[in-house]
Each structure stands twice: as structure tokens, then as C-alpha cells.
Subunit: 564 residues, 2 copies
């Protein structure tokens, strides 16, 4: 037992060191990194000290801006890639956000793109020369996929002898290459993926770069921290309960959860793979809404339904974009539902303020806001959560057992010391019926708002918190109900960064009477001094498959916010 | 025990008699109905003897033709409804195809439609005044839904005290009413729905009207027999393994299986409700392809995604229709894959001939046909079948136990004497992974045909048998692999009636060497004398969500066949 303990630990340490060693020596931070207390925020001026002004210019350009330069030959793919490799290396040293780097392969891919451009004076595709980061669920040739499990190191999803090890590439990876993207790193995840924070026995804990007292979120936490630090202009995560939107919200990013079947998941590693009662989805995160759209629309342009059997034949629907743009140009344009509080856990003061800010800019722009009073989210969130335990934790425990590594404390709470009884087919069917009934009620409620709006239509979209926190304190992420509800409904949702915590404004609500233990603990966790400076986001929600509409609206709202 | 036996039997008999009693006395057949031997075919001249020439004119017009008359005031909805009520009554007496009639309600609905037309000179909707039949899974107010279970009589899905009893309507029912359709009867199903023949303890056995030696198919067998006898111009069934396409094929009809999520299932009774690993879908059956399209497109025009949370936001895609029409007008138009034999059960001679006929008319019209050699269907069909036993038969046995009625012999074979062990979540996930992998291989194969075709595209559609039989002999339906494969793949499939069995042409292949026991028994079941005159159909297959394309092609092929 002792020797097995030492074995997993030594493999974890070895892997951790190999990540660090994969960073060129010239990019290692030599001085002491200041403590959290000294320097909670390592974005902006702090990270810039490690970069040249040219590197800063490149890495602080958004994906759309970069592609505009690389597609016209203004910037070389090699130079852009180099700059992001450097900034990602710094980001990792500051936040533990990477699982893999493969800078040499990236630079050699970038070189090929530059050669192509030199020869043909045209880009390979709409993502020509754009570095794209990927959550460590994607398979890339010659690169490990540990997904945070020590037992997965140097295997294919835990299997040492699988012929796909080192050769197989996930479908999205293949499509990104065809689009001209440059892949250069994979980002940290919590082992299991079932967590709103990112921690595992390999890289330890991924911190929020904007405020290192706080979590970067999870499970796409490495993506959140890396893109938040501008070590990547955009990347892809996955979301079964908020795993794209939580890290996006916590790091001031736009992060899209498309509906199941819109985006290709084929060939991507996963927890509880084959559980298809409530599916995880892939989606993009980026610093701007237009960049999220670029990533999303580019992948759709590859017709993912011809290589992923679970993708619906739904190209980017220009007519939907035109519909919403045309509504936005009228004098009494849209009506938004606004849910401030789900009745289970009330958001902390900065989130409440962010919702007010968004509501107010929308109203100023002549949009209507109505109170959103759907069938109680408390009926649905527990149904969603049940889907994560259908196998009694069998798959999770098997993955940990491969190396003998212990479960992280939060995972222990969730999945216990060992697997428990599995749900059977009848129990699963009963769960499906309940969830279906709830979806029907919610849809009926949505459509019923037609009588409340001034537009003659049901609400066009709904605004709600992405989480009750700006970002939770380390180890304190305890409630994902605001994101999980939308996995339950399979609705389109995108995070919109709104503001940052201001300790002088976002005071504790001293008179607040908590409505539950969880509500009480979230309320008590809030401390303006500790949270100061953290990003605060909201969630914009459309019905199923309304990605075009939500992307247009997210960009529109982002513009309104920036014009305040 | 004896008394419980008597109880279920008396309830079954009472229900059977009540169906017959619901038919107006003037429409009861008074003379002796000839035996099967005397008169195997009760369609055409035989059934016409019971009808006026005006009734024949109306009922032998297809749905598109009827709507053209009722929407312009040429024919009244009342007269049309009356004619179909009459013909359906005769059809039931000849084949046992009805579970419910509600002619008075239908006539009163038709009257309202006529009043509307008189007042506004315009139809209520695209199905104005069109009688539409429904498989006995749909809930209609004031009408029972037994689904063939004695224990469901006078209950809501087996529950006597459910407040929805007699009041609730399935979503599709509500939409059909809004479209102007007239609902007037519900058609027979095998209890469980899991059968390619239609038999239950209430109505007995549903015979194939074109050849009463044979089955009408199942599970939408009542729809098949009724529409085959032109007692309905079109209706809706459901399909989890072929339950629309088998009865459509066996009765000379077009029957569409759309992909999961295209068509609203909300609020419809089902077996193993909540099993969503492999979902049943609803779809239309009718005598012409254009009528199937009318029913399909009309329902889509109601935007089913705004009332059924499981429907994808996919309106009728005009651009897809235009694409395929434009290809059809070129000189070297399309390439079809042709699968003659799935390697498990070889089709009987009439089906082989039907495939040749279709291939030959397509080639004559300059289309290319290539051999279809996909990943073996034998790998997928057993995976599909596993989905029907995930709960060990618990749901099925519970429904039979409500009354104590015995399982039909075919169902006993399938589900045993009592429920067995249920699959657990891990086993279900493993099944999902296997099926997903197969889907991926199949899709890759489909796309790979691009190098084989002259069109520069992968095959546009695939032709294959709908069943190894023209229609199976009573009690002999034994293989649904040709339809099940497409449920496994979730592909769009539509049946196309091609010809009828001709004993003088469709000889037994005396030299045939069977490849399996099942193949042998299907081979041996074929007897040209017994099968003579039966309908023979093929299946046209598109990938997921290619309903527009397949409907256009089915109509096109139907035209080619009629011009031979």
C-alpha cells in the first residue's frame, strides 16, 4: 500500500515536472513569484512584465483580430504562435493551468501555414494561424491525455496497450487543423471533470489569475485561467453542469454552451463515457463574443454532421442572425426575462449588481425586462445531479484505482470512498420522464410570456446569474444550480462578463436572512476585501439550438456594456 | 385465478364488442364475409361493393387531392369525413384494424370546419377537412387509449384515477386539430408495440387487406391495414424498430421514419416510456408520397419545437428541397447505394425483384447505382434489440399484469414469463458506446463512397429492403433487421411501394443455400401461391434529418415507377 502510494505520487510529480520542463528555459520565471497576499491579480501589468511589447500587442488582440492579421500576411503564424506559447508558459507558472505543451509541433505547424500563405497568398481556413487551446479531454497525436488522472498518464484513456495511444486525434482536433488553427497546449481539469474548481493530483490547483484567492472555476478551469491571462485567444471546453460557463464567468470570458448535438464531441475522452441520459457538450471560450462566434461558426463550416454521427445537420443559420439583427434595429426591440435568484442560493452582492447593470443598459437601449418566474429550478437541479451518479461512481473510482491515487476532497464528498449501487434501467427511465416533464413545463412557461411582453413575442432571451459567486474562494465552490438548470433543459447559454468586484460598492448584505444551509454558507463566504477585483459575469439563455441568436445578443450586450 | 381469467376475458370481449357497436348499424356487413381462401384480397372491387360511387370517389382520392377539394369548398368536410367513417367501418370488419371510433365527434368537428369555410371562404389550415387516423398511442379527449392492453381500458395509461383520463390530448393531436384535420378513429397495435405483427387480446389479429393470408405488419398495423384499404387517406404511427415502415411496406404505402427529434412525441403513450437510449419516433403513413409530405410538412409548420421540448428547431428546409430538385434536373443526376441482402436474412424473391425494378428505373433515368457494403448490419441489429430489454421486461409485464391477461405467444418468446434482471447504468453506457462506434463507422463508410460515385458526392441515398418479405405470413414475422438498422443509425427512411407478388414470376429459388436458421425459415416460408398479389416495397434511406430530401426522392421514384 505504502509502495503504491509512493508510486502514484512519484508518477504525478514526474508528470508535473515534465510539464514544467517542457517550457523553454528562457521562459521560466526566475525570481520569486509574489504571494497571493502581495499580488492577488496577476493579469494585466503583472503578466506583461515577462513579455516584449510585440508579444503584448499580439496576445492582447482577440481571435478575430489575430485572424485578420494572419489571414492577410500582416502577422506570421509563427510569430503569433511563439507569443502565445510564451504567454501560456508564464500563465502556467502563475496559475497551474496546463497539462500539456507541444510548442515545437505548434511552431512547425505554424511554419507550414506561413509557407502556405507565402505560396498561395491565401489562408488555409477561417482560423489561419490562430493558436487555440484545448481542455485536456481532446486527443492529439504525440500528446498525452491524462484528464487529471495519474492512472491515465502515458495510456489511451487508462489503457496502456490501446493502439490509439499517441496516434489518435479527436474529431474537433482534426477539424481545427483543417481550419488553420494552431494547437499548442492542453489545459488543466479536475480529475472526473465533475467539479466547479480545477484540482488534481498532477498539477495541484488552478488559480484564478484575476484574483488568486479564488478558483479559476471548473471543469474547464485551465481554459478559463489561460484565456483569462491571455495565454490563449480562445479554446474549447466541455460542459455537463456548467464546466464551460463557470470558468468563463470566473475569468471574465464569453463561454458558450451549445445544445446537445450542435457541436462535435466524437473521439473526445470523457468521464462516464456512454452515459447519454444527459450529455456533456463541447463549446468555445474566448475573450470576446465575436471570437466565440468565430470559433463556433468556423467549426460548423466544416459540416460536423458528416463526421460525427451525433451532430445535427444544422449549419450556421444566417436567417436567424438576420432576424435578430433586424429586431434590434427597431424602436421597441426585445424583451428579456430576468432571473435574479433561483430560490435556492441567492447570488452574492457583486452578481446582483452585475444583473442590475445589464438590465439597466438594456432598458436604456429601449429593451423590456420582465421578471422570470419559471417552474422552480429546485425541481430540476437535483434531477440533473442524479445523472452524475447513475453508475454509483463506478467509472470515476475505476479511473482513480488505476494508480491508487486518492480522490480530491470535493470528489470524495461527491463519490464516496467506493462505488455504490448503480441505477437500473427502470430507475433511469423514471428519471428521464421527470426531466422531460420539467422541460415541457419550462417550455410552456417560456411560451406563455407572450402575454406579458410588449413585443408580441415570448421573451427573446433570459438573463440569470452564471453562479452565485463572482468566483468562489478556493475550496468553497458549492453550488452550480444556475448553470446545471440549463444542462437539464438543454438550452443554449453564454456567459457575458459584466464588471469586477468593487469592495467599496459590493458590501455584504448584513440583514440577509438565508433560506437554506447552502444559501447561508454562500452568503457567509462573501468578503468584499477577498473578492475585490474579481470578474463578475451573467448568463444569457436561449432555448434549444438558439446559438446564432445568443451569439448575436451576447456581442450586442457586450457592446452596450462597453459603451456605458 | 380462474375468476381473474374470466375477468380480463370479459373485459376484452366487452371492449371488442363496443368497438363493433360504435359502428352505425347501417354500416355493418350483413352477409357472410368470404373466407381467406375464397377472397384473400379485400381491397379494390371487394371493398367497393359496400360503398356508393361518391364514397369511392372521395376515399380513393389521396390526402393532397382531398385537401385541394376541401380547402376550396368543392367538397364539404362533413361529406369527406362521413365517407371515410363508412369505409373505415368496413375496413375494420374485414381486418380488425380499429381500436376506437368517434365518428360523431368527427362529424361535429367537420361541421365546424365547414362553417368556418362558409364564413371566411378560407381553410382553417393546410389539412382543412382531411380525416386523419391515429395509432392507438395518441390521447384524444373522450376516447380511450388501450394500446392493446386489457388493463389500460378505461384508464389513463393503466391508471384509473389519473385526472388526464378522458381529457388530455397528445401534442400531435392538438396540432392536427389546429391544422384543420378531422380525427375519427384510432387504429390497432400489438400490446407492447414491440412486434412486426398486430395482435392483442382485445381485437385479436389485424389482417393484411391485400392478402389476408398475411400480416398487416406492426406495430402500426392498424394504420397499415386501414390506409391500405383506403379507410383513411393518411395517419400517424410510431417506429422504434420498423413499426411505421413494416406496415407501410406490407400495405403498399409510403411511410416515413424521421430522425429522433424531428417530430413531436410529447404526451403520447408508449411502452417503456422514459427509455431514451433508443427512442421511438412518430411519422406519417399515406397512399402517396406527396400525402406523406403534406402531413409531415404541415405539422412542422406548427413549429413543434415550441411545444415539445425534445423537438429540434428545424422547419421544413426549402433549400434542401431545391438542392435535390436541381440535382435531379441535371444530366448525370444522383448516385444511389443498393443493399440487396444484409448478410443475415436474404429477402424473398418478390423483394429481390422489387429492388431490381427500382434500380432499373433509376438507371434508365441516368442515375448511378453502386453496391452498398456498409459495416455489417449484423453488428448493429443486436445492439438495437438490446434496447428493448433494458428493463428486463418490467414495464411490459406490469402492463399485462394489470388485468392478468396472457402475453401473446410472440411476446412470450420475447419477454418470457416474468420480468428478468434489469440492465444497470454501466451496462447501458457500454451499449451506448458500442452503438455510437457503429454509427461513426457507418457514417465514415457513407462519406467514403465519394471516391466511387460519378457525381463527386457520396451516395445521395440508399435503397434496401424494408423487410425480407412482401408481407410475412400470419404468425411468421421473424426478422426486422432491415428496418431496425436504421433506428440504430437514427437515419431517415421511407418506404416506397414498388409492385405486387406475381406467382408466375416470383418463383422459389430452389437452389438457395441458407446462411442461418433464421434465413432458412424465412426462405422456407415463401410460397408464391400464398403470397400472390401481396404488396412489395423497398426502403429509401438518407442520413440523419434528411427528411426533405427523402420525401422529394420518394415522390420522384414513385413517379418513375408509375411511368414504367
Amino acid at each position: 500500500m505504502e509502495s503504491q502510494n509512493r508510486l502514484w505520487l512519484s508518477r504525478a510529480v514526474e508528470k508535473r515536472e515534465s510539464i514544467l520542463n517542457s517550457i523553454p528555459g528562457k521562459w521560466l520565471i526566475t525570481g520569486k513569484i509574489p504571494s497571493v497576499e502581495e499580488q492577488p491579480d496577476v493579469t494585466g501589468p503583472f503578466v506583461r512584465q515577462f513579455l516584449s511589447s510585440r508579444e503584448i500587442e499580439i496576445t492582447e488582440t482577440d481571435a478575430v483580430g489575430i485572424v485578420a492579421k494572419t489571414s492577410t500576411g500582416d502577422w506570421s503564424a509563427v510569430e503569433v504562435t511563439q507569443a502565445f506559447c510564451h504567454r501560456a508558459s508564464i500563465a502556467h507558472q502563475l496559475t497551474n493551468c496546463l497539462h500539456e505543451t507541444f510548442f515545437d509541433a505548434a511552431l512547425s505547424d505554424a511554419k507550414l501555414l506561413d509557407d502556405h500563405f507565402a505560396a498561395f497568398k491565401s489562408p488555409v481556413g477561417p482560423l489561419h494561424g490562430l493558436p487555440v487551446s484545448l481542455k485536456d479531454q481532446f486527443h492529439i497525436k504525440n500528446v498525452d491525455t491524462s484528464m487529471g488522472y495519474v492512472g491515465w498518464i502515458d495510456t489511451f484513456e487508462g489503457n496502456k496497450d490501446d493502439a490509439r495511444k499517441g496516434t489518435f486525434e479527436s474529431e474537433l482536433v482534426q477539424e481545427l487543423r483543417a481550419l488553420g488553427a494552431v494547437l499548442y497546449c492542453k489545459t488543466s481539469v479536475p480529475a472526473t471533470l465533475m467539479s466547479g474548481e480545477t484540482a488534481n493530483n498532477i498539477i495541484g490547483y488552478t488559480y484564478n489569475p484575476k484574483n488568486r484567492n479564488l478558483t479559476a472555476g471548473g471543469s474547464s478551469g485551465g481554459e478559463g485561467a489561460l484565456i483569462g491571462l491571455k495565454g490563449s485567444p480562445g479554446g474549447f471546453g466541455s460542459d455537463i453542469g456548467g464546466s464551460i460557463r463557470i470558468p468563463a464567468a470566473f475569468n471574465g470570458l464569453y463561454g458558450l454552451r451549445p445544445s446537445v448535438g450542435r457541436f462535435p464531441y466524437e473521439g473526445t475522452a470523457n468521464s462516464m463515457d456512454g452515459q447519454c441520459s444527459l450529455l456533456s457538450v463541447l463549446g468555445p471560450l474566448a475573450t470576446t463574443a465575436r471570437s466565440v462566434r468565430l470559433l463556433f461558426e468556423s467549426v460548423l463550416s466544416r459540416k460536423p454532421w458528416i463526421y460525427d454521427p451525433l451532430v445535427v445537420e444544422l449549419p450556421w443559420r444566417q436567417y436567424q442572425e438576420e432576424e435578430i439583427q433586424s429586431l434590434l434595429s427597431t424602436s421597441s426591440p426585445l424583451c428579456f426575462g430576468m432571473l435574479v435568484d433561483d430560490g435556492v442560493v441567492k447570488p452574492q452582492p457583486p452578481v446582483l449588481r452585475a444583473l442590475q447593470v445589464v438590465g439597466s443598459v438594456l432598458q436604456k437601449a429601449s429593451h423590456e425586462i420582465i421578471e422570470w418566474k419559471p417552474p422552480s429550478h429546485s425541481l430540476c437541479v437535483p434531477l440533473v445531479e442524479k445523472h452524475w451518479y447513475l453508475d454509483g461512481g463506478a467509472d470515476i473510482h475505476k479511473a482513480f484505482a488505476l494508480s491508487g491515487e486518492p480522490l480530491a476532497p470535493a470528489m470524495s464528498v461527491r463519490y464516496g470512498a467506493a462505488a455504490t449501487t448503480e441505477a437500473n434501467a427502470s430507475e433511469i427511465a423514471a428519471l428521464h420522464r421527470k426531466l422531460r416533464d420539467y422541460k415541457k413545463e419550462y417550455l410552456d412557461y417560456w411560451m406563455s410570456t407572450v402575454v406579458q411582453t410588449r413585443t408580441g413575442r415570448p421573451v427573446d432571451a433570459v438573463l440569470m446569474p452564471a453562479a452565485p459567486y463572482a468566483a468562489a474562494r478556493k475550496g468553497k465552490f458549492a453550488y452550480a444550480g444556475y448553470t446545471m438548470i440549463l444542462n437539464g433543459l438543454d438550452y443554449t447559454a453564454i456567459t457575458i462578463p459584466v464588471t469586477t468586484v468593487d469592495a467599496t460598492i459590493d458590501k455584504v448584505d448584513e440583514g440577509y436572512q438565508p433560506i437554506s444551509d447552502k444559501d447561508k454558507s454562500v452568503h457567509e463566504d462573501y468578503d468584499p476585501e477577498i473578492y475585490n477585483g474579481a470578474h463578475v459575469a451573467v448568463q444569457l439563455v436561449g432555448r434549444r439550438f438558439q446559438e446564432e441568436k445568443m451569439l448575436v445578443l451576447a456581442e450586442y450586450i457586450g457592446k452596450l456594456l462597453s459603451q456605458q
